[in-house]
């Protein structure tokens, strides 16, 4: 290994989705990315950051709206890249046995029956599935199913093995086990694959497995950092450098504008850029979740290391980041060098009784978040103090994708109802001012 031959090269690839009205939404900003032979690359990013889309562009499953992908120097489409994918949901055919599942890609290649069976049996043996050839997927545990997924992906001897969150549907122990077996196969060259590209939202997994880690920022997706993990394998989680890498990634992920130094390297990367947007992107969490999280943090002395926090609570970053994002957004939390620090407002919020909590949440949201300010202003200015959801939908539409707009609206309604900023009638899909506020608004009008 160690030869740095480029297998796949993405040149300024970007992806945008057309909108029914208005400009298309850019989900992946123009990005350069290369996959070299002999390396395991991990692509990290918060959920919804477009990392799966990027994977599908690299494999040729999805066409970029701009830029191009080269396979050994030739554009994908003119050549068929020799790759396969291990899916998060396993994507096995439930009506086929394990053996038949593994034979499917070989059948597609036109491999005749006898060599086909031989190859399938051999790879099943490699991944530790001999004896299960005639079983149906539903008879297997999650870990076993993913082994079938690996066998099916490896049986065509792909040059690059893509994996889309392959371990995230498994329990912790099974995932750990499967990860180390994969590494063993890779290190001993028992699989023909020359490079592995894994998409994950598990920071520890990335540092544990990868030779190279790429972190994506979102809205639109762009590469925040791309660095080599200078640790020999097998890697020890307790080592200082390991912890430093994890803190570093946390810092990059939690602070959109920061450009901290990569551990083990001197110079700062120049690529780090944050995206400025008009509306704050609401993380999809419940207000109660934020309060619970702050309470917990306060019980731990008000300051703690993010990675330790995630580990102790057995949270994935996808669970933790939205909570911290929301708390930061509302001014209840500060992030400093991979540590979370509760603010005085946050402490007050965590310990207030329910009515006071709502008030505090309302004040913070109206002061800091544009969307809520706008909703409130619109409702107050209308004579019937009610307006259809679609109105705000259209405003958000200009900034977010269709799907994200719906999610944003849902979260906004959730927060707004909680904080009594507005009421929402699910039947008519209309937002209206709460009665107390309505009276106030009328008073204002009269005064004017």
């Amino acid at each position: 290994m160690g030869s740095d031959q480029i297998i796949i090269e993405a040149q300024q690839v970007q992806k945008s989705y057309p909108q029914p009205h208005g400009d298309p939404i850019l989900v992946i900003a123009p990005t350069d990315l290369a996959v070299n032979s002999g390396e395991i690359v991990a692509l990290l990013g918060p959920s919804g950051s477009g990392k799966s889309t990027l994977l599908r562009i690299l494999t040729g499953l999805s066409k970029p709206t701009g830029g191009r992908v080269l396979w050994h120097g030739e554009p994908v489409g003119a050549v068929q890249p020799n790759v396969s994918i291990v899916f998060q949901s396993f994507a096995l055919f439930p009506w086929l046995t394990v053996l038949e599942n593994v034979e499917v890609p070989l059948k597609a290649k036109g491999v005749p029956a006898i060599p086909r069976r031989k190859r399938a049996l051999k790879i099943l043996d490699t991944v530790g599935l001999d004896g299960f050839e005639e079983a149906y997927p539903k008879e297997l545990s999650g870990g076993m199913k993913q082994r079938v997924g690996f066998a099916r992906a490896l049986v065509i001897e792909p040059e690059v093995l893509f994996m889309d969150e392959p371990f995230s549907a498994l329990d912790v122990l099974t995932a750990e086990n499967l990860r180390s077996e994969l590494l063993e196969l890779w290190d001993k060259h028992e699989i023909p694959t020359r490079s592995i590209f894994i998409v994950t939202h598990n920071i520890e997994e990335a540092v544990l497995l990868a030779d190279r880690v790429i972190v994506l920022g979102r809205n639109p997706a762009r590469i925040r950092t791309d660095f080599r993990v200078q640790l020999p394998r097998p890697r020890d989680r307790k080592e200082t450098l390991f912890a430093n890498y994890i803190d570093y990634i946390y810092t990059v992920l939690t602070q959109p504008d920061a450009a901290p130094a990569i551990p083990g390297q001197e110079e700062k990367p120049a690529e780090i850029r944050g995206a400025k947007t008009m509306y704050e992107m609401l993380p999809h969490v419940r207000p109660g979740g934020i309060a619970g999280f702050l309470e917990m943090l306060d019980d731990r002395g008000g300051r703690d290391d993010l990675h330790r926090l995630a580990k102790d609570l057995s949270f994935e970053i996808d669970d933790l980041l939205p909570l911290t994002d929301a708390a930061v957004m509302l001014g209840f939390l500060k992030i400093e060098q991979g540590d979370a620090q509760i603010t005085p407002e946050g402490r007050a919020f965590a310990h207030a009784e329910i009515q006071r909590q709502k008030e505090q949440f309302r004040e913070a949201a109206l002061e800091r978040l544009l969307l809520f300010r706008q909703i409130r202003r619109v409702l107050e200015s209308k004579s019937d103090h009610a307006v259809h959801e679609e109105f705000f939908h259209d405003l958000l539409d200009e900034q977010f994708s269709e799907e994200e707009t719906l999610k944003q609206m849902q979260t906004a309604i959730n927060w707004g109802r909680y904080a009594e900023i507005f009421e929402f009638d699910a039947g008519t899909r209309r937002l209206r001012l709460p009665h107390s506020a309505e009276a106030n608004a009328q008073l204002e009008r009269v005064k004017r």
Binding site: G77, F93, W95, P105, A108
Partner: protein, 578 residues
């Protein structure tokens, strides 16, 4: 691997079973062969002007066989067509919307009013052969059963999980391999359930179209339907009972020999992550699985064919995309030609149809509108009556598993007898009691539609979570409150589904229910269905066309304005989400 087996009873019995089933399979093959010969000889024979229907019970097996053959052929044609239609609609973005719209409209057109046109066309095409009339009946059944199968296949294809789809793309499966590895298996369960519904409605239409009068011509096909009608006309109660028994016998046999094994077999196509506790079983399927003949046939015939086909197609699929373009252009060209052809034909036919409509005078227009109102009232009264007994009964059955165990099979058998088979019998009774067809036709509509409501309500009541019902009893709700807060909202989506189907069925049934030849007299009531039937009788095509158009328009309008909004409401507000 050596497996030590204890010499248990079951092991001893196993081979006996296998030999028995092998013989069965063999005889079945012979029987099918003979049947094909029989049909071929009968069809290619000269047209039988008016088939004499023999009322002796001894003739029943042959009649049952003829009816069954018609149903089977129509069903397989429907299946093939539906697979093609659904596949095209799901895979071609540009065709998707128009194809779905066509599906929607064709589903709403009363099939029975096509009968005369189709019959005349085919008899004209094949004047000397019995095949003409037979094909007419088959095409009619086909149009009655194809649409829901097509729609089921289409929506299954659209619902395939994304990652499964991507797996077939990343491994570059050919279109045919993708069809057999992913698409068809994924859609199988939906196809089977819809096939059962379709075949049931096939029986409904077959019973009606085996015997009918068109102007001076009397079309009769030997079969169970014509047997029952002949027996009723003659007032021959014994023959009626024999005929009904044969009908029920055929349907029960189909259920046991075909549907149950097929359902048990389809269990492996469930997209579930873990094995479920309750697996449907069928002794016949198990016997077939053990049969050596079947195993041999699979190994020697099916497997090699499949193998050669996949290998052949694999080569092409491996080529990079741009090298396959040339063929794509050709297929687009072909598609364009087909679409253009269809469009030209449609324009021509509809312009001719409009010129036909000009022949209708004002009085007939008014009459048609009056009839439409009468049938509209009748259909809705029958829906109300059906709901009035089926909702309480369905809820009672759904809430009490013990009652369900007794009531459900009975109801299923009762429902499986096509309403059109019972029409002549019921009519005889109505006439004897001195009732007119005005009220009688409502009873006839009820006969066909009540089951849709009953079965859907049972399913809905069963789906209400028991904790919701417990809440109702904890709070001591009165029975009125219980119905209002728990039961009705709980069964609402199911009830709507049942009502939609029942409403469509009732409109279709009006054609047979409002106008009837009995012995030598003709019974009729004011109604759109009677209008269609009378126009058929007199060979009055302009009126037939007008009445059909009016009926289709009403059905489509009701679907759009009433059922669809209710359906959406059911999907959003009244969905019990897990």
């Amino acid at each position: 691997m050596i497996r030590v087996r204890t010499f248990a009873r079951s092991v001893v019995r196993q081979p006996t079973w296998t030999i028995a089933t092998d013989f069965c399979v063999l005889f079945l093959g012979l029987a099918i062969f003979y049947g094909v010969v029989l049909i071929a000889r009968y069809w290619s024979g000269g047209a039988i002007p008016v088939a004499q229907i023999n009322r002796s019970p001894a003739a029943l097996p042959l009649y049952a066989f003829y009816s069954l053959a018609r149903i089977s052929i129509a069903y397989f044609l429907s299946l093939i067509f539906a697979l093609g239609y659904g596949w095209l609609a799901a895979h071609n973005r540009r065709l998707e919307a128009p194809m779905l719209a066509i599906l929607d409209v064709l589903q709403s057109i009363p099939v029975l009013s096509f009968l005369p046109a189709v019959m005349l066309a085919l008899v004209a095409l094949l004047p000397t052969k019995q095949l003409g009339v037979e094909l007419g009946a088959i095409i009619l059944i086909f149009t009655g059963q194809v649409w829901n199968i097509a729609f089921s296949f289409y929506s299954s294809l659209r619902n395939i999980p994304r990652e499964l789809h991507e797996a077939t793309r990343i491994y570059r499966l050919s279109a045919l391999q993708r069809f057999f590895t992913l698409e068809l298996p994924y859609a199988t369960i939906g196809l089977i359930w819809n096939s059962m519904v379709s075949v049931a409605s096939g029986w409904f239409f077959l019973m009606a179209c085996e015997m009918f009068v068109l102007g001076k011509r009397d079309f009769r096909l030997p079969g169970l339907g014509s047997y029952l009608q002949t027996a009723s006309s003659a007032g021959d109660t014994t023959s009626i009972l024999w005929g009904l028994a044969a009908m029920v016998g055929v349907i029960v046999m189909l259920d046991q020999l075909i549907w149950r094994p097929v359902i048990a077999w389809s269990d492996k196509f469930k997209l579930e992550q873990v094995e479920s506790v309750e697996v449907p079983r069928s002794p016949i399927l198990e016997a077939l699985r053990r049969s050596q003949t079947v195993k041999l046939a699979r190994k020697k015939i099916i497997y090699p064919i499949e193998e050669r086909l996949t290998l052949k197609l694999a080569e092409r699929a491996q080529l990079p995309e741009h090298k396959r373009k040339s063929n794509k252009v050709f297929s687009y060209f072909l598609l364009f030609v087909v679409i253009a052809g269809v469009a030209v034909l449609t324009i021509y036919a509809s312009s001719r149809a409009i010129s036909l409509l000009r022949e209708i005078d004002r009085a007939n227009f008014v009459l048609t509108l009056k009839s439409a109102v009468a049938t509209f009232v009748r259909v809705n009264v029958s829906l109300l009556l059906a709901s009035a007994w089926a909702i309480p009964a369905g809820v009672a059955i759904g809430f009490h598993p013990r009652l369900a165990r007794i009531a459900q099979p009975v109801a299923q058998i009762a429902a499986s007898v096509p309403a059109t088979a019972l029409f002549p019998v019921l009519l005889l009774a109505i006439v004897k009691l001195g009732g007119g067809l005005g009220i009688g036709s409502i009873m006839l509509m009820l006969l066909g539609t009540q089951w849709y409501i009953l079965f859907n309500v049972i399913a809905g009541a069963m789906a209400i979570p028991s904790d919701l019902r417990e809440v109702a009893s904890v709070f001591n709700l009165s029975s009125g409150e219980r119905w209002r807060t728990v039961i009705l909202p709980g069964i609402f989506p199911y009830l709507i589904t049942g009502l939609v189907t029942a409403s469509g069925g009732a409109w279709n049934a009006s054609i047979v229910a409002e106008y009837f030849h009995l012995k030598d007299q003709t019974l009729s009531a004011l109604g759109l269905g009677a209008e269609i039937s009378r126009a058929t009788d007199n060979g009055n095509f302009p009126l037939l066309l007008l009445a059909t158009i009016v009926m289709a328009t009403i059905v489509i309008t009701i679907n759009r304005l009433v059922w669809r909004p209710l359906y959406r409401l059911a999907e959003t507000r009244f969905k019990l989400e897990v």
